[in-house]
């Protein structure tokens, strides 16, 4: 099981308190679909994904991005039990959505880039390391019930 030090938890929760979940969630998901276009396979029903600007402006992408990042908020509150927190979502992503867990890692890295863009100077290597650990642990927890 992943262990976060007190310092890492403080770094993660401090930054999280300043995150605009709606804006940055939409941005992160949009960028995933632009930078790794094969991820669009999961979003057939989302309408116009024909160009970067269409994707970034697509209201369904923004809404779903907000949903995804909101659930990261659950992770921030439950850093000591990510597997427990994401058990049901893991089953969902495996059994119903059929999402390759590699996509969780891709999204995690995209989120780190979005945070860097947003927080600039504050996003030091130490902050990046804590958030990298966080996103990788969430990805791992989401893959934990796959079979």
């Amino acid at each position: 099981m992943v262990h976060f030090t007190a310092e890492e938890k403080a770094i993660i929760t401090t930054l999280w308190s300043k995150v605009n979940v709606e804006e940055e969630g939409g941005e992160a998901l949009g960028r995933l679909l632009v930078v790794y276009p094969w991820t669009q396979r999961f979003f057939d029903t989302f309408g116009n994904l024909s160009s970067a600007s269409a994707i970034m402006g697509n209201p369904k992408v923004k809404a779903h991005g907000k949903k995804v990042l909101t659930s990261f908020g659950d992770a921030v509150k439950n850093l000591d039990d990510l597997k427990g927190t994401f058990g049901h979502l893991s089953e969902l992503h495996c059994d119903k959505l059929h999402v390759d867990p590699e996509n969780f890692r891709l999204l995690g890295n995209i989120l780190v880039v979005v945070l860097a863009k947003h927080f600039g100077k504050e996003f030091t290597p130490k902050v990046q390391a804590a958030w990298q650990k966080m996103t990788m642990s969430v990805a791992s927890a989401l893959a934990s019930k796959y079979h």
């Binding site: 890295n109 780190v112 880039v113 860097a116 863009k117 600039g120």
Partner: protein, 142 residues
């Protein structure tokens, strides 16, 4: 798929904007790589890897020069990076996964320093460029 004319223009525009500072950003990217992915340090036991060290700056400069060289030879990357590929394989034995760690940290660095320029399209182009460079760098591996 090779970089399109538009993608090359996007990347070249950013490189022009960075001017003489490419080395500053590759150095920061290296520092981040060593902090965030500590296993990467195993390839540099002979260097001082503490943040701000002249060793990291010197290596950052080498990486910057190689990337700039790559951008000038996008039509023939495997040849242009042939010597570097041999070096990283035969002499250094660097596992290919580590280039991806560095690439990611370079994206993070550029996003931090150029938030206004670093649109989704810019990120896609730079990500693609770095993937092509990495591919060429490991082209001699097997």
């Amino acid at each position: 798929m090779a970089l399109s004319a538009r993608e090359r223009e996007v990347v070249s525009a950013l490189w022009r904007k960075m001017g003489d500072n490419v080395g500053v950003y590759t150095t920061e990217a290296l520092e981040r790589t060593f902090v965030v992915f500590p296993a990467t340090k195993t390839y540099f036991p002979h260097l001082n890897l503490s943040p701000g060290s002249t060793d990291i700056k010197a290596h950052g400069k080498k990486v910057a020069d190689a990337l700039t060289h790559a951008i000038g030879h996008l039509d023939d990357l495997p040849n242009a990076l042939s010597e570097l590929s041999n070096l990283h394989l035969h002499k250094l034995g660097v596992d290919p996964v580590n280039f991806q760690f560095f690439n990611h940290c370079l994206l993070v660095t550029l996003a931090r320093h150029y938030p206004g320029d670093f649109t989704a399209v810019m990120q896609a182009c730079v990500d693609k460029l770095l993937a092509h460079v990495t591919s060429a760098l490991v082209s001699k591996y097997r």
